[in-house]
């Protein structure tokens, strides 16, 4: 066993640390004050492109997972560590970094060489920033992904997409959306397929961008697909492979959930640092009466964040070694998100009235962090996954085996 951070992560982590302090946090606060994300043509996005950073830090997933000497690559572990560092400074900005991100992950995992060439290769170009979207959630199908209604109609060598998707990160600025739809809703999960829909496809439109409680630096879009025709070669999962589409989505999420857990830890650590700094500055002299109670709570939250970080690392390590990590990924995410909220909430409590004003970071962290118990599978969905693994939980009424996503 080895619980240390690999030395090979240092340089990238330092780069994100610097970028975070100088740019992500100030820009995140700016976006928060404006109430919306920075526009896609904001010079910052070209800057990070020059630096070679990509959103979701998933850019290396398409490479083989074992080094020449047979050792597992550290792809997911690196992503978890970098996600924590980026989210420490601003999680909304981290999500808005250009790159394939979650939308590109299914192509990395399931795509053909041709699809990788057409859709992922452009991300290596530095002429302009690019984004991709992951389109699964629908207005009437959130956690219950078996109910997605977006229809895929096969006509000759084309697929016709009809439906709506919501809560899609970077959705309004994405070059393409990886859309999860069904050939026939009656087939349930067996009918699920993923198809890549470029943004210039006629019939694709951005219905709107959400106004959110937090994470304002991250664009969250509602998208509409009306008779969107894309070539059959944009289909990610072959038609004859039943359930592969659904499994593909689940595999993606098993890889990204530890990363979301890492992000939660990052926000929680930022909250801890704010609270700790405040306590050290203020709870002395006549205010020392608070210090022992506050110290206990700070120690507890530091411990909890450490715990959550280790669960995320462990799940990422399993993913890197191609071990089944569905259970550990669900445990890591379901554990980390509420603890990070607890850290932010405690931070506000320790700052007192000062924590309630919008000119202090802690107030924003409290609004930002809540999202992490919702995205990529709510805490409840994670519990369904855990219970299905451990006790074969199934809801007989719907036949839901808890393979739901988020």
């Amino acid at each position: 066993m080895d619980f240390s951070m690999p030395k090979s992560f240092d340089s990238l982590r330092q780069m994100i640390h610097f970028l975070g302090r100088e740019r992500l946090r100030p820009l995140g606060l700016e976006a928060d004050a404006m109430g919306h994300a920075l526009p896609p043509d904001h010079p910052f996005f070209s800057e990070v492109l020059e630096m070679g950073l990509t959103g979701g830090f998933a850019g290396k997933m398409d490479k083989p997972r074992a080094d020449d000497d047979g050792r597992a690559r550290k792809t997911v572990r690196r992503a978890v560590v970098m996600a924590e560092e980026a989210a420490y400074w601003d999680r909304g900005m981290a999500t808005s970094l250009p790159g394939p991100g979650l939308g590109g992950a299914p192509i990395m995992m399931m795509g053909t060489p041709d699809q990788k060439e057409r859709f992922l290769h452009p991300f290596k170009e530095k002429d302009r920033p690019r984004w991709a979207g992951f389109g699964m959630t629908e207005p009437s199908a959130g956690s219950d992904v078996a109910r997605i209604r977006t229809r895929l109609r096969f006509e000759g060598d084309e697929i016709v997409v009809n439906g709506a998707k919501c809560f899609i990160s970077n959705g309004a600025r994405a070059d393409f959306i990886t859309v999860w739809g069904t050939e026939n809703p009656a087939l349930g999960r067996a009918g699920h397929r993923a198809v890549i829909v470029p943004r210039d496809t006629p019939g694709f439109s951005v219905v709107g961008v959400e106004h959110k409680m937090g994470l304002n630096a991250s664009e969250t879009a509602t998208l509409s697909f009306e008779e969107c025709r894309v070539p059959l070669s944009n289909l990610l999962t072959p038609r004859d492979q039943t359930r592969e589409g659904f499994k593909g989505a689940m595999k993606t999420l098993n890889m990204t959930r530890p990363i979301v857990a890492g992000m939660a830890v990052g926000i929680g650590r930022a909250a801890y640092d704010e609270a700790s700094r405040f306590a050290k500055e203020h709870f002395t002299g006549p205010s020392a009466w608070r210090s022992s109670r506050v110290a206990d709570r700070l120690a507890r939250i530091r411990r909890k964040l450490d715990l959550a970080r280790m669960l995320a690392w462990k799940s990422a390590w399993e993913a890197d070694h191609k071990e089944p990590n569905q259970l550990s990924a669900a445990i890591a995410k379901a554990t980390a998100a509420p603890l990070a909220l607890e850290a932010a909430s405690l931070g506000i409590e320790i700052l007192g009235l000062a924590g309630g004003a919008s000119d202090h970071l802690i107030e924003k962290l409290y609004r930002d962090v809540k999202a992490l118990d919702i995205v990529e599978g709510t805490g409840q969905i994670q519990r369904v996954i855990i219970a299905r693994k451990l006790i074969g939980f199934s809801d007989e009424r719907t036949g839901n085996q808890g393979e739901s996503h988020g």
Binding site: M1, D2, F3, S4, M5, P6, K74, R77, S276, A279, K280, F283, S291, S292, V294, A295, D296, L298, A299, R300, R302, R303, K304, D306, L307, A308, M310, L311, W313, K314, W317, E318, L327, S328, I331, A334, T335, Q380, Q382, R383, V384, I386, A387, L390, I391, G392, F393, S394, D395, E396
Partner: protein
């Protein structure tokens, strides 16, 4: 960043598992009623060699990592946490005492804030029939107390021989080196954390099996979401306890005691949550002695009182926060 055990480490854990399942689990209630572990068990444990693993200095030929030892302790405690405590005391406490400069048999370790003002008698201390209690305080003041014991009925940990202890005399006194004192505190807490993890893991396993067998409202309990989510919450806690133990063990390998107090605190909090939930999931059955979960809930609360309990640990953990 590596979460695997070596082949050798896995063998140690497996060996502990065989001993636990073969010798401890079947007689758990017998050992509880007898308020002791029979000598054969202690001897058999010695013969496995697992007991030697607590003392790297003593047996350099078996350089098994702390991580593996902690997992071995957890495995023993999955069968019977009270027995695991007793085994810990017989095998691992003596070298710990030696490292603090104390000679001769030692039957319990007590951590206090200040030895000069600690209160006697100690109403509940698992001493396994012994009468020599090692006391270590925050400042490193150390004393071996010769005590008069009165076996007592207790909340839990009966197999470890709980007794009320009245001070007769301090037979050895001195000052522990800071590093040795830290290490003793950390080791006790880490081993305690591992035992708590084992008890919690066993409780989760037992409750998981029960909710899949038992039916209510026309379906297995496990298919009621309210029940299923309790299992999920318990599993999340056990995963957290385990990873904190592993991390603390890894730190301690290099002499760094920083994470053991955190592991101890986490395992107390998690253990209390998991074991009481296990009783809850079994309902009335869980409340009876027909199932082990009631014992595990008692053992957990009792174990968390040892080595200064929560408050002394919190004091250590929160030092430096402000």
């Amino acid at each position: 960043m590596d979460f695997s055990l070596t082949e050798e480490e896995r063998m140690v854990v497996q060996m502990a598992g065989q001993f636990a399942d073969g010798e401890l689990a079947p007689s758990m209630r017998t050992h509880e009623s007898a308020s002791t572990l029979p000598q054969e068990i202690l001897t058999a444990f010695e013969e496995t060699g697992i007991g030697l693993l607590g003392a790297p200095d003593i047996d350099p030929e078996m350089p098994v990592s702390f991580a593996a030892r902690v997992q071995a302790v957890e495995r023993l405690a999955q069968a019977d946490g009270a027995a695991a405590l007793q085994l810990w005391r017989s095998a691992w406490l003596p070298p710990l005492a030696t490292s603090l400069g104390i000679d001769g048999p030692v039957h319990a370790l007590v951590l206090v804030r200040d030895r000069a003002i600690m209160s006697w008698p100690l109403h509940f201390l698992p001493v396994g029939g012994g009468d020599r209690v090692l006391v270590l305080d925050d400042a490193g003041s150390i004393g071996l107390a010769h005590v008069e014991t009165t076996p007592t009925r207790a909340l839990g940990l009966s197999a470890a021989g709980p007794a009320a202890c009245a001070l007769l005399e301090w037979s050895q006194e001195g000052t522990a080196e800071a590093q040795a004192g830290d290490m003793a505190r950390a080791t006790a807490r880490l081993w305690g954390a591992a035992i708590l993890t084992g008890i919690a893991a066993a409780s989760l396993t037992h409750a998981s099996a029960y909710v899949q067998e038992r039916e209510s409202f026309g379906k297995p309990l496990s298919n009621h979401q309210g029940i299923a989510f309790m299992i999920s919450d318990m599993a999340m806690r056990v995963a957290g306890m385990r990873i904190m133990c592993a991390k603390a063990a890894w730190h301690q390998e290099s002499g760094d005691t920083c994470a053991s107090t955190d592991a101890w605190l986490e395992c107390i909090e998690g253990g209390l949550f998991v074991t009481s939930h296990a009783v809850q999931l079994l309902g009335g059955h869980g409340y009876t002695r027909d199932h082990p979960v009631e014992k595990w809930m008692r053992d957990t609360r009792a174990l968390s009182l040892l080595w200064g309990g929560v408050d002394l640990a919190l004091d250590d953990a929160a030092r430096g926060e402000i």
